[in-house]
Assembly symmetry: C2
Homo-oligomer: 220 residues x 2
């Protein structure tokens, strides 16, 4: 794993060519965004056409992982083919004085590369445990133990974070100098992901206890 | 505009080929998801490689629109080229009794096609008004009036919703019959987008009033 403080060398593809001043390439920024938002949109090319599939990613060290049905279209089409995995978090609406400066506060990461499949069943099991425990610490050990068939039916792909970039926007609107005299309210409407009270499955056994760590779950 | 009750004829591409039981194709479902979530992930192919860019979409009738800098990479690369526009909303974590049945509650839409550019300045202005007023009704008329140069610098693309599909998952976990006897808590952790209190721009003029409709804004 490379030094976390070192920049992930931006290639021509990852170099953000619009709004360049919003781009950040340092690993800590990229890690923080990936860790805050498990939902990723994975883009790949299928018969020459782009497809964007939402999926759940998780990060370990300098790699990002996702899983799916071993026989699914996405897992087959993305194995060893170029993909773009994008994670984005909406932080707010930015209401400026001019429609042209309407914006959103956001954090996003794009990762490019050719995913590799994890094939060793023990490594797959270890990674799936990390995936599940990433949501609810200790959950893997509480669950009905995983079977060999389930591990076999689950494909896991991973990408190194070598070609990755982050883009962020925060703070108040930015209007043209002359527009600050225009008499209209401007500001930010903050948006965040909120977690509600856990809803127990009506089919739960009467004596099961909710994991205490569930109430600590946060996202975004 | 086709009858809203008629299904958007699914093509081979849009037919959801995994988890088919989650797929919905009726227009009202597709419209409701697009209207609830402006953030879209647009996938396109650039030099043979997939790129997924987050952007804001809005819907009018049976078309979806997005805008960007006229000279930006995304707007140029997606004009008259195949794209996949995906909108997804995370509704909750589904904690099952088996790791294999871990899931998320979600709503998503995928739209395929070749975007067309809106070129008429009057039509672009009308569409941008709809975009802005979609967030805060009446806002367009309050803002510093748009200039011809701003309209020129803004590209607008649109896709018909003819090749579109929706996918939904809601409700409690689904475990294998034999696993319901396993003594572990199962249930759903609901997640939603929450809107915070508006944050006025510190550079607001002293007498500007916040639009009352801002407090009614909701998303997701």
């Amino acid at each position: 794993m490379p030094d976390a403080a070192a920049p992930a060398s931006p290639s021509a593809r990852t170099r953000v060519n619009r709004y360049r001043w919003l781009a950040h390439y340092d690993r800590q920024t990229i890690y923080a965004i990936l860790d805050a938002m498990p939902v990723a949109h994975v883009g790949y090319v299928h018969d020459g056409n782009p497809i964007v599939t939402p999926t759940l990613q998780w990060r370990e060290g300098d790699r990002v992982y996702w899983h799916g049905a071993a026989h699914g279209r996405m897992m087959k089409a993305t194995h060893d083919a170029e993909v773009c995995l994008t994670v984005s978090i909406l932080d707010g609406l930015v209401l400026a004085r001019a429609a042209y400066n309407f914006n959103i506060n956001h954090r996003s990461v794009m990762v490019f590369g050719r995913p590799e499949a994890v094939t060793d069943p023990a490594e797959k099991t270890r990674l799936l445990k990390r995936f599940v425990d990433g949501y609810v610490p200790g959950q893997w050990e509480r669950l009905r133990p995983v079977t060999d068939q389930e591990i076999k039916a689950t494909a896991i792909l991973s990408l190194p974070l070598t070609e990755a970039s982050a883009k962020l926007r925060a703070g108040p609107p930015e209007d043209g100098d002359e527009d600050y005299a225009f008499p209209v309210w401007a500001g930010v409407l903050p948006i965040r992901l909120a977690v509600g009270a856990p809803e127990p499955d009506p089919r739960n056994l009467p004596d099961v206890e909710m994991p205490a760590s569930l109430t600590a779950f946060s996202i975004g």
